[in-house]
């Protein structure tokens, strides 16, 4: 019987060509969907991890430092380690100015793990060969060429070295500030004096063994590494211990999954499974229904229910066997093509993004598994129906669920559109499924359209920058650093160069205090601070108030605040909310020393003043202390709502948080600021540019910051706008892709139904034609049937899109400051129109393809 079943499966398979084609298409589509989505998902994750690894400088799972040669040998033997690199630090080179170069001895594994394998040339072999980054070679006055000669200078064990080296290979560094130059093991063997292990006595890194490792598995890694450090006779806990060994996990590589992202991903996956369920269910439902007589026959001649089930299951397996691999293949390429677009929009937060994805088995296994599960789920009901059909019923089986009603009010005539409508009722479940899958497409695309349309680009631009351009030091623009120290100041010379450009106008330098300006402090009412702690990086004493707001404090332990010195034009651009709101009058008064303007951070969503940070009211007196003595009293004249540009630049405000913390934002005229601060420094030069000159200025700045003065960076309203546009592009792209896939699934569903209807009702159609229905009328009836699906879906789609729009989407977008909700149904209506057109075309094509031959032939075929 097993053999027989196989033969039967094979023959039935061959018999239903069109049906199988559609089934394979449906399964392929499902696999494409899952693969492209997992590819995009994993690719994004991988690319972000890689980007962060590049920033951190290592893609290892963790690293050990300060080991002796013996300990390193033990480490290599540890069974939880798959790969262990070798790094023997020497020192930073001393003959450099702007680009810092670390000089180490590495092996190839270590070089690979820390992104410094040569992309040109070879790894160093001879004792005098080195590999370095392009930037490093240029810093040393050499060209990035194999065979180039450089001289390196460094100190090790208190001895200065000056060695001529030859470049055996080089690579492009991802950092402008720092890169690695490395020599091979031969260098170590040639210079035993450099590599004496003295770390336990004098903490000199030269001579220690370090190793970046790849673990067999990431689970429990930190514990294992700690134990290993202890096992080799080190102390991983006490930094002061003689035998201190650093053993740390690379958290960039092994980032924990955020729960919100996991939930979102699960929901999305569920939605996809559902959509594909609708599609595959229909395919198999139709297939079984078409064959129902045959299953009835099998049952009469003694096939058991189990055998019928097996027969259909086997067909499903065969079809999946064809559809899934094709889908995986296509899906991977779609996903990979989509990845750079998505990563580009993330690049604002992650500079130097690397966008790539490897065809990892996780993607394919995951997608294949999801597809298989979907196929399994969606075939359950059709299989059950086929297995449970009684032979007699099978022969009488005419698809007509309305047959349960014995009677129905007859209409006067039998008009074609009504007939079409009754035909929909033949299989309610299928009708509902098709309509739902088409509706999903309408709703989804409308949500995407609403999100893209609600993206408030001008708001983002206005928040990031109030002028056409602003130039700051590179640190200020770096989201991880910010303007903190005097050395981050913008050189007056830069301002001179920039302001000399044609078209530059309204330029004004803006001064700001730094962590070094601890002599000037402020005091105001209701301020109660605790003892505080010392911040290791800035050296400031950080004190908290009763609301856990923190304040960077100065020499006299009063808050140093974030204090700006600016010109009237800058004040005029700000958003004055309370007190004196006339910028000119305000500036006059302030310039005469009659008061100060305070700024308060806003809630970005509605741009209202953040009440938690609103600490000083208009009219309140702020006392300025210098060297611990009250210097002057400044009443608050006005209150402004401050944005990213007023605080620092763009959306970064790391600088102010490092300096004044949550302390007041105080804005003073330049003259007063200069009176208060001994060493006033400029952090930003903001300016507008004549429209006609903007391109030139952009080109000038682009060249200037890249080639002339990398210590400087700039932001323009144009680049801010482009960054925001990238988000819109991503939304459109990803949303459009997903919506299209849903739409495609819906249309495939529709095509399947139409084709099946034509094949299955061949006999009925032939009858109608024999009693006088013209082909035109038949076509019209089928168009009506098909269009009813689309009409139903459009109606439901537009209504649900509207409902979703004013509820969930509005709330979701409303909670993100980058968006200003705009209600729209245009995408839904557009999609509906397209669906209606497609739905009108499908039956025409299907009839043309599948309803051929004379009436007699069709009557015969059906019998």
């Amino acid at each position: 019987m097993g053999e027989m079943l196989k033969t039967l499966t094979r023959r039935s398979f061959a018999a239903g060509r069109v049906r199988n084609l559609i089934a394979v298409l449906a399964i392929t589509l499902t696999a494409v969907l899952f693969t492209s989505i997992t590819t995009i998902g994993i690719g994004t994750e991988e690319s972000m991890t890689l980007t962060m690894q590049m920033q951190k400088g290592s893609k290892s799972d963790g690293d050990f430092r300060n080991m002796t040669a013996k300990q390193f040998e033990m480490l290599k033997e540890a069974d939880f380690i798959e790969l262990a690199g070798l790094r023997m630090p020497v020192n930073f080179l001393s003959n450099t100015n702007r680009h810092n170069i670390e000089f180490d001895v590495l092996d190839d594994v270590q070089a690979e793990l820390t992104f410094c394998s040569p992309t040109h040339g070879k790894a160093p072999v001879a004792y005098n060969e080195i590999v370095a980054s392009e930037q490093a070679l240029r810093e040393l006055g050499a060209l990035p060429e194999v065979g180039a000669e450089v001289t390196i200078e460094f100190t090790a064990h208190n001895r200065e070295y000056r060695l001529p080296m030859v470049v055996s290979g080089w690579y492009e560094s991802t950092s402008d500030q720092l890169s690695m130059m490395w020599a091979g093991i031969a260098f170590r063997d040639a210079h035993p004096d450099i590599f004496q292990f003295t770390y336990d006595q004098d903490r000199d890194m030269a001579g220690t063994y370090c190793s970046d490792i790849i673990a067999v598995t990431a689970s429990g890694l930190s514990k294992k590494m700690e134990q290993e450090a202890i096992h080799m006779g080190g102390n991983p806990h006490d930094m002061e211990a003689e035998n201190y060994i650093a053993a740390t996990v690379n958290f960039v590589t092994n980032m924990p999954l955020e729960p919100e992202i996991a939930v979102m991903a699960a929901l999305l996956a569920l939605l996809f499974v559902f959509c594909c369920y609708l599609l595959i269910y229909n395919v198999f439902d139709i297939a079984v229904m078409q064959e129902i007589r045959r299953y009835g026959l099998y049952r009469t001649i003694g096939m058991s229910k189990r055998q019928v089930r097996k027969l259909i299951n086997r067909q499903a397996v065969w079809l999946s066997g064809i559809g899934i691999p094709i889908g995986l293949f296509i899906g991977f390429f779609i996903g990979r093509a989509a990845l750079p677009v998505i990563m580009a929009s993330l690049s604002e937060e992650y500079a130097n993004v690397a966008a790539d994805v490897s065809p990892s088995p996780v993607i394919f296994l995951g997608a294949a598994l999801l597809t298989a599960i979907t196929v399994f789920l969606s075939t359950r009901k059709p299989v059950r129906v086929a297995a449970n059909i009684s032979p007699i019923e099978a022969f009488r089986y005419v698809e007509n669920s309305s047959g349960k009603r014995r009677e129905r009010k007859s209409s006067l005539g039998a008009d074609i559109s009504r007939l079409a409508l009754s035909n929909l009722g033949r299989n309610k479940r299928r009708t509902v499924f098709i309509i739902i899958s088409l509706t999903l497409c309408v709703v989804l695309l409308n949500c995407v359209g609403t999100a893209a349309g609600s993206l408030d680009i001008e708001k983002q631009v206005a928040f990031k920058i109030r002028t056409d351009f602003a130039v700051t030091s590179a640190a200020s623009m770096n989201g991880m650093k910010g303007f903190v120290h005097r050395e981050d100041a913008l050189d007056e010379q830069v301002i001179g160069t920039v302001s000399a450009q044609p078209g530059v106008k309204d330029g004004s330098p803006i001064y700001k205090n730094t962590v070094e300006d601890t002599d000037v402090t402020y005091e105001w009412e209701h301020l109660v601070l605790d003892e505080g702690i010392v911040d290791k990086d800035s050296g400031l004493n950080i004190r908290f108030d009763e609301n856990y707001m923190y304040f960077g404090t100065g020499d006299d332990r009063r808050p140093i605040c974030n204090v700006y010195g600016m010109e009237e034009s800058v004040v005029a651009r700000m958003d004055l909310r309370e007190g004196e709101t006339d910028a000119h009058a305000l500036y006059e008064k302030m310039a005469q020393g009659k008061g100060v303007m305070v700024g308060v951070d806003v809630n970005r969503v509605d741009m209202s003043i953040n009440a938690d940070l609103d600490m000083a009211d208009v009219g309140e007196i702020i006392t300025v202390y210098k060297d611990g003595k009250p210097e002057r009293e400044l009443p608050v004249l006005a209150k402004a709502a401050v944005n990213g540009d007023d605080q620092e630049i763009g959306i970064t405000c790391n600088g102010p948080l490092e300096v004044g913390g949550n302390g007041l934002y105080l804005y003073l005229p330049t003259n007063i600021y200069k009176e208060l601060y001994e060493e006033p420094v400029i952090y930003k030069y903001a300016f507008n540019v004549e429209e006609s000159q903007r391109e030139n200025v952009t080109a000038f700045l682009e060249d200037y910051v890249n080639n002339v003065n990398p210590e400087v960076n700039y932001l323009s309203s144009q680049t801010a706008r482009e960054d925001a546009e990238k988000t819109r592009k991503t939304i459109n792209f990803v949303g459009g892709l997903v919506g299209m896939i849903f739409g495609f699934a819906g249309v495939l569903n529709l095509i399947n139904t139409m084709v099946t209807t034509i094949l299955i009702r061949r006999h009925e159609f032939a009858t109608m034609q024999s009693i006088g229905m013209t082909r035109k009328q038949l076509t019209r009836m089928m168009i009506f049937e098909s269009v009813y699906y689309a009409l139903g879906a459009s109606f439901l789609g537009v209504v649900s899109a509207a409902l979703l729009g004013v509820t969930i989407i509005r709330n979701m977008l409303g909670s993100m400051w980058q968006y200003t909700f705009h209600f729209t149904l245009a995408p839904a209506v557009c999609v509906s129109v397209i669906l209606l057109i497609v739905s009108a075309v499908v039956p025409v094509a299907a009839l043309w393809l599948f309803h051929k031959g004379s009436i007699v032939e069709q009557l015969r075929v059906a019998e």
């Binding site: 005419v398 698809e399 007509n400 309305s402 047959g403 009603r405 014995r406 009677e407 129905r408 009010k409 007859s410 209409s411 006067l412 005539g413 039998a414 008009d415 074609i416 007939l419 009754s422 035909n423 009722g425 033949r426 006999h763 009925e764 009858t767 109608m768 034609q769 024999s770 009693i771 006088g772 229905m773 013209t774 082909r775 035109k776 009328q777 004379s854 009436i855 007699v856 032939e857 009557l859 019998e863």
Partner: protein, 222 residues
Amino acid sequence: MENILKAAGLKKYYGKGDTMVKALDGVDLEIERGKFTAIIGTSGSGKSTLLNMLGGLDTPTEGSVKIGGTELATLNNEQATIFRRKQIGFIFQNYNLVPVLTVWENIVFPISLDGQKPDKKFIMKVAGMLGLEEKLDSLPNNLSGGQQQRVAIARALASKPSIILADEPTGNLDSKTSDDVIGLLKMTSQEFHQTIVMITHNPEIAQMADRIIRIEDGRIAT
């Protein structure tokens, strides 16, 4: 009497070469208006093929069919369909009702397709003669085979066609029911002066006909 139906040199070949089937191989036939003609013959002899040619459901390989002076070959597909629904009523062995339409709707369907208003009085009369008054709002699935075939007959009569072509209309019915159905068919056709051409396997039914034509291997046997 005038000949309403005229076929000359009718040939219908299916397939090519070795597998070619000569379903009809030169049939000449004339049928008088108002007469009841029975076609008999063994299975596969070409009866259905002949009937389909006569009704214009299929086109002959060779030869011509003329109905009431109209040469069917001169009509295109669309015209043939429209001609058919005005002039000819078909009755099939397996009823061929539209499952989603009620009995009434099935009966008036060809008329609606023609964009005409059904002659309600006439159709009620036909329904009455066929005993269908009670069933007009039922759906076909809920009727017995005999009832379904009576609906098919009513449908064939509804547009008052001049010719009724029936292909084994009683093939799926028991003998009592088939007698009833044929009786009704004969009665209504006489009432409305219609011409009937019917294929049957049943000798008793053939005996009721005005004329019997026997088909053997695609030719008329005499």
